[in-house]
Each structure stands twice: as structure tokens, then as C-alpha cells.
Symmetry: C2
Subunit: 357 residues, 2 copies
């Protein structure tokens, strides 16, 4: 078995030679080579929109860290621009303009044909696949509808996303109309990435953590489920070969509900023990996670110990993809990230009863 | 049974006539009378430090909403000033200066004698008790050590509290020294509030949600446990009459661990079903919560329905204190908060099998 297979096999809960690992935001600011490429691009958005450079930063962590999958370098808000919103990344976080806060604005959103509207993303997928040359698989991704709606309604990052909650609670039909439009755009966006060469896809639902269980069901999980269902329908026979990962941050209170979304892999953040999470998620899905990103500040020996605890917690059943519990932090030492990858590969080989005999 | 007893009895898991309710941050900006009093005080900190005005805003929600307990108006960062840090509340959140980031700064923190150093808080407790005149009990409060450490190390509100995590992970002995000092100050602070007349106390551990389960045990729960233990020792025979509430936000992943802290009541945020939370917390503690604060934007009939769901979820066993799952939001309509209180009292009376026959 090679690095080319390990990640996809684990997503399908098949035996592997050792636990595969990739790192959320592995193509990012903690890497000097990323900062250099971004400087060449001129801006974050220019980097997203220049396929050769986006592909270059996509493969950088594969070379540097030895991770078992690449994830396309892009941003979850890219499709929002295709829907008709202005998108900028000033200091302090992204801005979408104008915020979408009423039915008129929702109805004015443009339907997305991702091949036509986000061609630079698909070009980046193709370029990254060419650079990777089969060494490891390429993961495509999108924001889940609820999380995109948070940004689109608020217009920027927020702590509580109150404007969206006000919409949900005072005009639920409008909130649902918005989420449905985003879901349709997301299906087009992910299908186009798969058509261009993405070998797995992840839906990021970062802000699902702001919801109570009943609202999580109605406004987040239902639309992640819809995206996964419609994406599979769009892909047809190819769907079986493209694992879908759903990562809802802050979902420790609702883990039991997650498998109903139909994803092959469920990501869990660092605030739950992965063993408890696997039990609550059940045996029908693979699990991805979940080291605290800040744990990479620990001395190397301690990083090893924590990686071992997570491998122990995830247990011997096949179907664990190691990852951080959220994106790698910009002040992280790349050597510590590399150490983590090496440790997971070393310890995972000894502990995975699911490994081929 | 009167409003004077209902809250304290529920904290002790004794039968009650109906479910008691109070609301985190009930003395706050959503109330016009609060804004008027704060304007008279001149600033937030001046309001905290003027006992007559702090007492006035403490009782405002008791009059307006009919809640079953008052909570002292103050701020969790007040003891940090007594420890030697500069404290200000500019736009955008509190500032503590200088941030405490090394052993020298930790060792320079002043031990707190709360009666001497925070006399204005104790005066406010006495003034509030006088104004309340036995109508409902008065809850005192403090920030839990981990949450205070977040602010003290960072110097301000943060999303990830990385500076504290760096201290924890690169100099754990220093982090423990800081937490121990804060714990000691907190014991003095809470004991003085009880001496002045507080009839229950709540420890707020807002930022515990940034921690993995193992770090939560070591850096948050251990110090909440220490505060509760030492406070009880300090209070001696009086301790049995003063319920302690521990509220760790974002603790859905670690609910099973919470009862070990020794609190009488455990607060749960809105991101977990309260029925599931009660099962995971066990029968040995009362539970407080947990309506999504944003749910007060719903139409009144929907607020009623959600309140009913929480009462149903909490079940018939005595020991449920209704509350929001976090502080009430400034844009909330006070009439909606009042409606919630009335609804909980009306529905709670019909559903509480623990009510006296």
C-alpha cells in the first residue's frame, strides 16, 4: 500500500498500513513557502484565482510534511462571489457586500454554474492533480450551506451570527430559501471539482457550533444532507469512488445526529474525546480528527504522547483519518507539524488492527 | 411556597411549586432602565463601583421580569484589578494591562483580600439584599480561574486564547502557578460575597470551550473544583446553605466530567439537549439552562413552544433551574424575556412531578 491509497481506503473504512493524516489549512500561512507564493500572487484572493499558484501552495505541505492527502487551496467564500456578492479580504477577515438580509436580496442571488463561474478553481484542481502526479489524493471542498449563510447574512466574521439567527427566527421561509440556494450552488461547485479531478470532498460547517440541537437539525444538518444527496445523484456511478467528509465544528452535543447526513467520514473537533465520539457516531462512518491545533506548540515528545492518545482513542477498527480538530494555527512551527505526521505514521502502523495481516 | 424559596430549593433538588428561572446577564443593556442607570453612572466600571447604582440595576430585572433570583451586577474581571492589573472597558471589550505572560508577571500578582480590595462589591451585595428585602435570593458570582486566566494572559477578548495555550504548553508550571493564584483570589472574593449576603454563587467558565477534554480537566475543571472545595471550607457550617453553580460554556463534549467539581448545580449551554445533558450529568446534581439566547427573537408563541421543550427535556425530577444557555443578548425585547419567565412559571407548574402534592 502506498500514500496514494491510504487516505481513501481509511475513508471507506478499509484496512490500511498505517493511519493516514492530513491537516486542515495545511496549505497556509505557517509555511514560509506559502508566504512566499502568496507574496508573489499579491493578495489572498489573487492567490485563489491564479490556478498555477493555487496548485503550487496546494502541494507544498505534501512535500514538506509528508501528509497523505492534499486539499485544494481556496476559500469557502469563493462561490459567494459567483452568487453575486462582492468579496474582499481586508485585515480582520473576509467581507461580503452587500449582506443578504431580506427576501429581495435572497431572490437576487445568481444561480451558480461552477464550471462557468468558478473556472479558476477547476483549473487549480487540474493543475494540482498534475503536480501531485498520483502521489496522494486531492481533496476538494466547500463551505456547508449554514456556514456560508452566516457569512452572507452577516457580511463578515461574527461571534454569534445574530443577523442570520434573526432571519431564521423572524422569517424562517426566507432563511430556508437562502439555504436552499446556497445548497444548489454548493452541489454545482463540488460536482465541478470532482469533474476536474478532486478525489474526495469536505464540507466545512464551522459555524454550526452556534446552533441549538433543533436548529442544527433544521438549518445546518438538513442542508449538508441535501448537498451530499444531490452531489451523489449528480455524480451517478462515480459517487462511490469519491468519499464525502462533513466537518461540523462544535458539534459535541449532537454527534449522534451526524451520521444521518450520509457522509462517509465525519470530522470531529478537539473538544471531545475521539473514542467517545466514535461510539456516539456509530460504526457506519469513518471519523476524522482531532488534535487541538494549539497542541502543536507542545514540545515534540508531548506532541507524540497526544498523538498516541488520539490513536488509542480512535481504536483498532478501520476508518480513522488523523487530523487536527480545526485548522493549523499561523504561529505553528512547520517542524512540529512534520513531527506530528511522522509520529502518526509510526504509531499508527503499530496500533491499527485493521492493517493487512 | 414563594419566589423567595423556589430557586434555592431547586438548586438543592427539592420539590418546588414551579420551575424557577433567572437569566444570565438579566441586569444588562437590553433593559432601558439599565441603560438609564448606566448613563447616570457615567461608565460601565463606574456602575460596577457605585454600590447604590449596582444594587439598583441588580434588582431591575426582578421587578420587570419576575425572575426567581437576582444576580449581582458586576463583572468577572473586577478581581483582576485587585490583583494589580489595569482594567478598562473601551469599545470592543475589556482590556487588562499589562497582560500576564511570564513567571515574573505571575509572581507580581497581588494576593486578594476581597473585603479590603473589593469593598464596593460587598457594599453592592448588601445594598441589593436590602432592596430585594427577601423577595428573591441574591446570587453572587466570579469568573472561574481558567476563564480569568484567558483574559489576564491575553489582555483582551480573543477567539482562541492562544497566548494562554502557549503558556500552558510551553511553561505548564507557570500556567498552574497563575491558575492557583487566581483560584485563591476567587475563594476570597466569593466568600466575601457570601459574608455580605449572597445566598448562592455561580462560577462562570466561559472560555473552557477552547480546551480539549484532557486540558479541560487539568486547567479548568481542577481549578473550579479547588475554588468550590476551598470556598466550602472557608464557609464552614454555612456552606450547606449556599448552593454553588458551575457554568462551563461549550462543555457538551465533557459533561460526564463536570459533577466531580462538587457544584450543586451545573449550567449547560444551548448546544446540547437538556434531557441528554441531565442523563450525562447524572442524578446527583441539579441542572441549569438552556434556551438559546437568540430564541428570544422568536414570536411569543414560538418562545412558549421552545420553553416547553426544555421543560419536557429536563423532565420531572426535581432540580431544574431554567435559564438561557448564555447571557441575554442586548437587542432582546424585554417583553419577550418577560414572556419567557411567565411561560416557564405557567408550564413548569403543570409539569413538575417534583412539586408538592
Amino acid at each position: 500500500m502506498s500514500r496514494a491509497d491510504r487516505f481513501l481506503r481509511a475513508c471507506r473504512r478499509e484496512p490500511v498500513d498505517t493511519t493516514p493524516i492530513w491537516i486542515m489549512r495545511q496549505a497556509g500561512r505557517y509555511l514560509p513557502e506559502y508566504r512566499e507564493t502568496r507574496a508573489r500572487a499579491g493578495s489572498f484572493l489573487a492567490l485563489c484565482k491564479t490556478p498555477a499558484l493555487a496548485a503550487e501552495v496546494t502541494v507544498q505541505p505534501v512535500r514538506r510534511l509528508g501528509v497523505d492527502a492534499a486539499i485544494l487551496f481556496s476559500d469557502i467564500l469563493v462561490p459567494c462571489e459567483a452568487m453575486g456578492l462582492g468579496l474582499e479580504y481586508p485585515e480582520g477577515g473576509p467581507r461580503l457586500d452587500p449582506p443578504v438580509r431580506d427576501r429581495r436580496a435572497i431572490d437576487a442571488l445568481r444561480p451558480v454554474d461552477a464550471v462557468r463561474d468558478c473556472g479558476f478553481v477547476m483549473d487549480a484542481v487540474r493543475a494540482a492533480r498534475a503536480l501531485l502526479d498520483g502521489e496522494v489524493p486531492l481533496i476538494g471542498f466547500a463551505g456547508a450551506p449554514f456556514t456560508l449563510a452566516c457569512y452572507m447574512v452577516e457580511g463578515e466574521t461574527s461571534r454569534e451570527y445574530l443577523e442570520l439567527k434573526k432571519l431564521m427566527f423572524t422569517a424562517p421561509a426566507d432563511a430556508h430559501a437562502l439555504l436552499a440556494r446556497i445548497a444548489d450552488a454548493t452541489v454545482s461547485y463540488l460536482a465541478a471539482q470532482v469533474d476536474a479531478g478532486a478525489q474526495a470532498v469536505q464540507l466545512f460547517d464551522t459555524w454550526a457550533e452556534t446552533l441549538s440541537p433543533r436548529d442544527f437539525d433544521e438549518f445546518a444538518l438538513a442542508y449538508a444532507t441535501r448537498v451530499i444527496r444531490d452531489l451523489r445523484a449528480r455524480l451517478g456511478a462515480r459517487a462511490a469512488g469519491v468519499p464525502v467528509i462533513y466537518f461540523a465544528r462544535g458539534a459535541a452535543g449532537v454527534l449522534e445526529r451526524l451520521p444521518s447526513c450520509g457522509a462517509d467520514v465525519l470530522g470531529v473537533d478537539w473538544r471531545v474525546e475521539i473514542g467517545a465520539a466514535r461510539r456516539r457516531l456509530g460504526a457506519g462512518v469513518a471519523v476524522q480528527g482531532n488534535l487541538d491545533p494549539a497542541a502543536l506548540f507542545l514540545p515534540p515528545g508531548e506532541i507524540d504522547r497526544r498523538a498516541g492518545e488520539i490513536l488509542d482513542g480512535a481504536g483498532a477498527a478501520p476508518g480513522h483519518v488523523f487530523n487536527l480538530g480545526h485548522g493549523i494555527l499561523p504561529p505553528t512551527d512547520p517542524e512540529h507539524a512534520k513531527r506530528l505526521v511522522e509520529t502518526v505514521h509510526r504509531l499508527g502502523a503499530g496500533r491499527t488492527a485493521g492493517a493487512p495481516a
